[in-house]
């Protein structure tokens, strides 16, 4: 009994919200209008029951609004109570508690319901409940295994938790991959350099056709050693990537022994990864404070008697 009401009020609510902004005649809208009309009938009959001959439309509307709010509140609270006790369907006791909480004397309800002068309202015309758009079904839903009680929610669609098979096989042929990577890179590089060459100054190797092999003009820089010595960001980036991922598995199984550089490569990397010009880690800085190196000592203030 409470269930449809609650649902209805829910829809009404949302209907009102959206209805305020624009008038529309979608099926769900019709459904809500029908409900409201029923409520108006109820309000009117109650008024008649109380002895009113007539009522202004505004008053009826207001009362309708009030009753609707009341029913909505009963429904919301009942649902809250029910969920509070970890159930999904409200029971009678939920509604009772709700009514009690709202200050309604429940004991008077049976008497009121059975009063003699009550009017019987005809059931509202059946309107089609709005179609809930069906979720995309992919594959067969699984049914509960034996150990799960049937009241538990159903399994969601399999595609949400199981690998979705796609039907285009990715290219895994090594040769093709390399081929593609190489030509992609080459294309990008060529496009980029051509673009740079087109947009900037160029030099040419041929006098007859300046556009044949355009070379980006050599620009002297003020501090040429910086760009020549510091690793580029790209290199640093790829270095980080290499750190996380293992080296190609197709490489030889040669041992790492190197008789040229015996340094721990890990240590080297750590240094190299540091951003250029970056400050020292604080731990290191602390350590250095303890080091007595004349270059780290504070600069002294000039002595007053010292002549410049």
């Amino acid at each position: 009994m409470a269930d449809p009401t609650m649902m209805g009020s829910g829809y009404l609510n949302s209907g009102n919200r959206s209805g305020g902004s624009k008038a529309c005649t979608s099926p769900s809208e019709n459904y809500q209008l029908a409900r409201r009309r029923t409520l108006q009938v109820v309000v009117s009959s109650l008024l008649t029951e109380c002895g009113f001959e007539s009522a202004e439309k505004a008053a009826v509307e207001t009362l309708t609004e009030m009753i609707q709010s009341y029913i909505t509140e009963v429904g919301r609270c009942a649902k809250a109570n029910c969920e509070h006790t970890a159930r999904s369907t409200p029971t009678l006791s939920d509604v009772v508690i709700t009514l009690v909480e709202m200050g309604f004397n429940v004991d008077t309800l049976p008497v009121y319901a059975k009063r003699s002068q009550r009017m019987v309202i005809t059931a509202p015309p059946v309107t089609n409940a709005p179609l809930v758009p069906k979720a995309l079904m992919a594959g067969q839903k699984r049914i509960h295994p034996a150990h799960i009680p049937s009241h538990f929610p159903e399994f969601p669609d399999p595609h949400t938790y199981i690998k979705t098979p796609t039907f285009r096989e990715p290219v895994s042929d090594y040769q093709v991959v390399r081929e593609k990577a190489a030509s992609q890179r080459r294309d990008v590089e060529r496009a980029l350099t051509r673009f740079m060459a087109k947009t900037g100054e160029t030099q040419s190797l041929f006098k007859d056709d300046i556009s044949a092999f355009p070379l980006i003009a050599a620009q002297p820089s003020s501090i040429p050693y910086l760009s020549a010595l510091l690793p580029s960001e790209l290199e640093l980036q790829s270095l980080e990537e290499t750190d996380s991922s293992e080296q190609d598995d197709q490489t030889d199984t040669e041992n790492n022994a190197s008789n040229i550089i015996q340094d721990d490569p890990g240590a080297d990397k750590e240094n190299a990864v540091l951003p250029p010009g970056g400050g020292m880690p604080s731990g290191k800085a602390n350590e250095e404070n303890m080091i007595d190196n004349p270059y780290l000592r504070p600069v002294k203030k000039p002595k007053v008697r010292r002549k410049k």
Binding site: S238, D252, D268
Partner: protein
């Protein structure tokens, strides 16, 4: 110098320096100027010290005070302009001797100096009390061209933000360029150094930083350094800049400095310095002598490494990140060198220039020990072989390198190295190349000494030198003890004989006191009957740069039964040596063959001669003689040697020898070596190149894919798709180096049309295409650069029809592909620069190669842009190399001028030096060939360059001399016009008569010279002594043929000067002098010209009046003297010409002397050498017929 041999050190100065203060108050980066003062504390060692000579170049001296009294001084630097005035004499002999004389005139080791200070007379009265004198000199430097180098990048911001810095540099003792001092390695004193710099900068200098104090305005700070260890002025240095400071995490007394933003690189590069410290301290059993050590990395460095007391200045380009493989060992080597020089070179200094070899030898030797320990025995032996090959090649080509020259009595006559076009008397007149070879030979000789006395004794000797020195250095106030810190040849040899008890006299005599290397030719025959190996070892000791060797030689014979060492005695007349063999030729196939190192291996013996048990023979396997060995043995023996001999030197020799045996067996041996990963990687790299040479010789019979292709595929390409190279993984460095080298060697392959095979080119292009470095933890920039080098190597000359102009349309298809790659690489480099721009460097070389082979139009404009200041130095060098090459090929005068312009004006000293040395290596023309480039203007220009244009940089001056020598030879350049045509005929006649060996005939030329110099540089200047140097040239072999112009040019001036009113002895006064005498002469003039100091005046202005004064009387004197003898000479040549023309040189000389007894020999010989006819070759007599 020789006096010192057996006694202790004797100072050439009449005083002893004990302490010097250097204070630089202001360094202005904007104006590139420096202001400061020095104060020298000296103890006179003579009763009347009235004159103090100090060294100072290019400093402007404001005032000099001695003990607070103003002292007059004279500043004269004869090296500014070696030959004054427009000399017509453009021959190198003349210049070289004048230059030597000029350098001697200010040589602190002879007690001389540019700055002569007169001690106020008030003070020298107290002289006998041996009172301390304090010499205070205020000076400034404005835009110094030498000594200090300012780097001020042209960007926005404060000087610190711009990374502006300044540092000291120089070739040998060049400290005089930036402050007045006694610029000698043998004058030690303690130091107090103060530098006031901007608060954002750091001043790094020698010794301990005592404190840093703000100035009153708090905008600057003063760094106070104390150096309590007695140190020579040339070992003092300074670097100021906004350096980032890194305290070494392992050794807190070591501090590293680098330019802003490079700190991460510095951290990585310095992370192993402590190991080098530990190594040296351990082998020398001696603590590092200074209490601290500083490394400073600067831009635009003069040399990669320079060591000074307790600090070293490095090129910033040595820094690298952990991504870089190739630079790592190079940087470590530089650090190790610098540190070795801290012990020997900085802490222990030398007594005189002739003792330099000991220091260079020891530091080079212990550096070698470090290499052995760090990089392994293979690397060490490979390095020794490389160094030995280098020195042998140099000496055979250029002439002997003399480690310990002795100059008895300072006479130039006994010049120990007549084959050289420069004097080795002074470090400042040495060609750079020669000096490098000198260092190389010095450390090799140290190794020979080690071979003789054992390493243990060797290290004991070093330890003894160091402990003596450190005892002496701690004697604070006993400066006479400090000479213990100077090493001399005799002292070193004495230590060796004391410690080891062995006599190494013969060894020293052979390699140190004498120049030249030994050239052996070996061959053998096996006498089956006697079972004896008959070895024949011949020597060539007549060609230049060689000497005769007598003594033991080790020969190692690998037989079937094992390896046997034999020591043979090389004697005067014995060429043949019989060596009994141990094995019978019957070989047991089952048996393994024992090698030298005890290893036993299976060999396939089918290749060898069935009758002989000999597998291979090696002569002097330990490289214990400075020698070149050309040994003949059969190809299969070389192949066995390559495969089975474990010594890398033997393997390299075998590879070299196999080039001459292009057979399938050689191919197999080389391929096997290439595949063997136990083999030393550098041997394998060499095998690659040998294999490509062999393949080219075997072209017609070669079967299978191109050499190395399948090998490369197997080693570096994917198993599944052999045409694609694996993604890069350089974790194994040996295979990395091999992977880099193989394509480069493969590209040298040629097919029947002498083209690079299509298959190879495509292969290389594929390597480039599929190169993928994304998963590599190292940078692949060197690898990519070598792939470009491979493309370059694949180029062959274009086939062109009637010199058509190269256009895009007629570009060869292969070349188009190559050009695409190069263009793309070069353009990408602009967006993502590689480390040290290696790729740009390779691309530039490739483009030049394309031009040279006629594939694209030859055009230097691209290179000229890349050669501009502001590009990375490696790029500039590569571009300049291309321009130099263009200049030669296209004979372009414009480019030649452009290069010379750069030599004079480029801000980077290293670039200037490189241009000249590259031009000398790849000269636009040589004296042998005619060229339109060779004209009078060029001669003048170069002459000016070496005469005065390079006075601020010794190295550059010597480079210019080298280039001049390469272009024009020793004698007068052939392109000079004949100044007076009227005398041509007359002279021609004469010329035919002239014989260079006859001294008397040289009179005219010589006299003319003297006249010139007396006129132009009267008195003061050291140049006045120039003629003495010329004597040396008398013995110089006269290589190039004479030009008629030479004679004619001289004659007129002689004729003009025929006047005989002037006393001969006067002339002799001037020109007969030895160097010392001429110095006395200068003294004399200095006295005459004594004048009050001129505070604030420029040195040049001081100089001028001095020059002008004596100028007038002199010329007449000298002119006369010459002419008076002129007549005689004529007679003499005719005489000789008629009767003695077939006699040998020295006979002529003898005869001549006989006839001219009345004349001074010195004069004659000098005169001869100066003569234009000195270039007259031996063929002159025949011409006259």
């Amino acid at each position: 110098m020789n006096r010192k041999k057996d006694k202790g050190f004797e100072s050439p100065r009449p005083y002893k320096l004990t302490h010097q203060v250097v204070c630089i108050n202001n360094i202005n980066f904007q104006r590139k100027s420096v202001i400061g003062y020095v104060e020298l504390t000296i103890f006179p060692t003579v009763v009347n010290l009235n004159r103090i000579k100090l060294n100072s170049k290019q400093c402007r001296i404001y005032r000099v005070r001695v003990n607070d009294l103003e002292a007059p001084f004279i500043y004269n630097d004869p090296t500014l302009e070696v030959c004054h005035h427009e000399s017509k004499q453009r021959n190198l002999n003349y210049f070289s001797s004048a230059c030597t004389a000029a350098v001697s005139a200010v040589d602190p080791d002879a007690g001389n100096g540019e700055l002569s200070i007169k001690v106020p007379s008030e003070l020298w009265k107290q002289g006998d009390e041996m009172k301390v004198l304090k010499v205070y000199i205020e000076f400034s430097l404005d835009q110094p061209k030498g000594g200090l180098h300012f780097v001020v990048p042209d960007v926005e911001g404060s000087m610190a933000e711009r990374a502006a810095h300044v540092f000291s540099f120089g070739n040998q003792n060049s400290t005089r360029f930036w402050f007045p001092c006694v610029d000698s390695y043998s004058e030690l004193c303690t130091w107090k150094l103060e530098f006031t710099v901007d608060a954002s900068m750091v001043a790094v200098s020698c010794g301990d930083l005592m404190e840093t104090v703000y100035t009153h305005d708090m905008r600057k700070k003063t760094f106070h350094y104390m150096l309590p260890i007695p140190t020579a002025a040339p070992n003092i240095s300074l670097a100021v800049g906004p350096f980032e400071i890194l305290v070494d995490p392992y050794m807190h007394e070591v501090t590293h400095f680098c330019l802003p933003q490079l700190l991460p690189l510095l951290k990585h590069s310095m992370s192993y310095l402590h190991e080098i410290f530990e190594f040296y301290e351990e082998i020398l059993t001696c603590r590092y002598p200074y209490s601290c050590f500083k490394t400073v990395f600067v831009d635009e460095a003069y040399v990669q490494v320079s060591s000074y007391a307790s600090m070293s200045i490095f090129s910033t380009n040595l820094l690298h990140s952990g991504l870089i493989i190739d630079q790592t060992p190079l940087t470590r080597r530089c650090l190790a060198q610098a540190l070795a020089q801290q012990f020997f070179g900085c802490f222990i200094s030398r007594m005189s220039w002739s003792d330099e070899w000991v220091l260079k030898g020891i530091s080079g030797y212990i550096y070698g020990l470090y290499l052995k320990k760090t990089f392994g025995v293979n690397e060490y032996r490979h390095w020794i072989k490389q160094e030995l090959d280098k020195i042998v090649d140099y000496e055979l080509k250029i002439g002997g390198v003399l480690l310990h020259p002795t100059f008895s009595g300072g006479k130039e006559k006994d010049n120990p190295t007549p084959h050289l076009h420069f004097s080795i008397r002074h470090p400042h007149t040495l060609s750079w190349e020669y000096y490098k070879m000198f260092q190389c030979k010095a450390h090799l000789v140290m190794r020979l000494i080690e071979n003789r006395i054992s390493m243990e004794f060797m290290l004991q000797v070093f330890n003894k030198l160091l402990s003596l020195a450190s005892t002496a250095s701690s004697q604070k106030y006993q400066s006479h003890m400090w000479s213990q810190m100077l090493v001399s040849t005799s002292g070193f040899l004495k230590s060796i004989s004391n410690v080891s008890g062995k006599d190494i006299g013969p060894l020293i005599k052979q390699w140190v006191d004498q120049s030249g290397v030994v050239k052996f030719f070996g061959s053998f025959a096996f006498n089956r009957k006697r079972n004896v190996l008959e070895l024949e070892i011949r020597q060539d000791y007549t060609s230049s740069g060689t000497q005769k060797y007598v003594g033991p030689i080790k020969v190692t014979v690998q037989e079937l039964d094992g390896s046997f060492n034999h020591t043979l005695q090389i004697e005067e007349n014995s060429l043949k040596h019989d060596i009994p063999c141990h094995s019978k030729s019957r070989r047991n196939k089952k048996k393994k063959i024992p090698l030298m190192n005890g290893e036993e291996v299976d060999m396939d013996l089918s290749a060898m001669d069935a009758d002989s048990p000999l597998l291979w023979i090696r002569i002097d396997p330990d490289m214990s003689i400075m020698r070149k060995v050309e040994f003949e043995q059969a190809d299969f023996m070389w192949q066995y040697q390559l495969r089975y001999e474990r010594d890398v030197v033997a393997q390299e020799e075998a590879i070299h020898a196999l080039e001459k045996f292009p057979t399938p067996a050689s191919r197999l041996a080389l391929t096997d070596i290439l595949e063997q990963d136990q083999c030393f990687y550098k041997v394998r790299m060499q095998a690659c190149f040998c294999l490509s040479k062999i393949a080219n010789s075997m072209m017609s019979t070669w079967t299978g894919p191109p050499a190395m292709k399948s090998l490369f595929t197997r080693m570096f390409c994917c198993k599944s798709c052999p045409n694609i190279v694996k993604t890069n993984n350089f974790i194994n460095f040996q295979s990395y180096f091999l992977q880099k080298t193989m394509p480069v060697a493969m590209a040298l392959l040629r097919d029947v049309q002498n083209l690079c095979p299509k298959e190879v080119l495509n292969f290389i292009l594929d390597l480039i295409k599929y190169n993928d470095n994304r998963k590599n933890k190292f940078s692949d920039n060197y690898y990519r650069a070598e792939l470009i080098d491979a493309l370059t190597n694949s180029l062959t000359p274009a086939i062109s029809i009637n010199n058509e102009v190269r256009t895009v349309d007629n570009l060869n298809a292969d070349v188009r592909l190559i050009l695409e790659e190069i263009t793309r690489f070069l353009n990408m480099e602009k967006l993502l620069p590689s480390y040290r721009n290696t790729i740009t460097v390779s691309c530039l070389r490739a483009i030049r190669m394309l031009q040279r082979n006629g594939h694209i139009p030859s055009d230097p404009s691209l290179f000229k842009l890349y050669a501009q200041y502001g590009h990375f130095v490696d790029v500039r060098i590569a571009a300049l190399e291309a321009v130099v090459d263009y200049t030669r090929v296209d004979r372009s005068y414009g480019e030649l001028q452009w290069l010379l312009e750069l030599v004079q004006n480029d801000p980077v000293h290293y670039i200037r030096h490189k241009i000249l040395s590259m031009m000398a290596k790849n000269p636009p023309f040589t004296k042998a060939a005619d060229s339109p480039l060779c004209n009078e203007a060029l001669v003048d220009q170069l002459w000016k360059l070496m005469n005065s244009g390079t006075s601020h940089d010794w190295r550059l001056r010597c480079d210019a001399v080298n280039l001049y020598y390469t272009l024009f030879g020793l004698t007068r350049p052939s392109c000079l016009p004949l100044p007076e045509l009227g005398l041509v005929l007359n002279l021609k006649e004469k010329k035919a008569v002239l014989n260079p060996t006859i001294k008397s005939e040289q009179g005219p030329g010589g006299s003319e010279l003297e006249e010139e110099h007396v006129v132009m540089e009267p008195a003061m200047s050291g140049v006045a002594m120039a003629p003495q140097g010329l004597k040396r040239k008398a013995e110089t072999p006269l290589g190039s043929s004479p030009e008629p112009g030479q004679v004619m040019q001289e004659e007129p001036s002689v004729k003009v000067s025929v006047k005989s009113r002037f006393p001969t002895q006067e002339e002799e006064d001037i020109d007969m002098e030895t160097v010392h005498d001429s110095q006395a002469f200068i003294y004399h003039h200095l006295n005459m010209l004594e004048r009050p100091s001129t505070p604030g005046k420029e040195p040049s202005s001081v100089e001028q009046p001095m020059l002008s004064m004596p100028g007038t009387p002199m010329p007449i004197l000298s002119k006369e003297s010459m002419s008076s003898k002129h007549g005689d000479h004529h007679h003499h040549h005719h005489h000789h010409h008629e009767h003695k023309k077939k006699k040998k040189k020295h006979k002529h000389k003898h005869k001549h002397k006989h006839k001219h007894e009345s004349k001074d020999k010195d004069r004659d010989s000098r005169a001869f050498s100066n003569s234009p006819a000195s270039g007259r070759s031996i063929r002159s007599p025949s011409l006259s017929d």
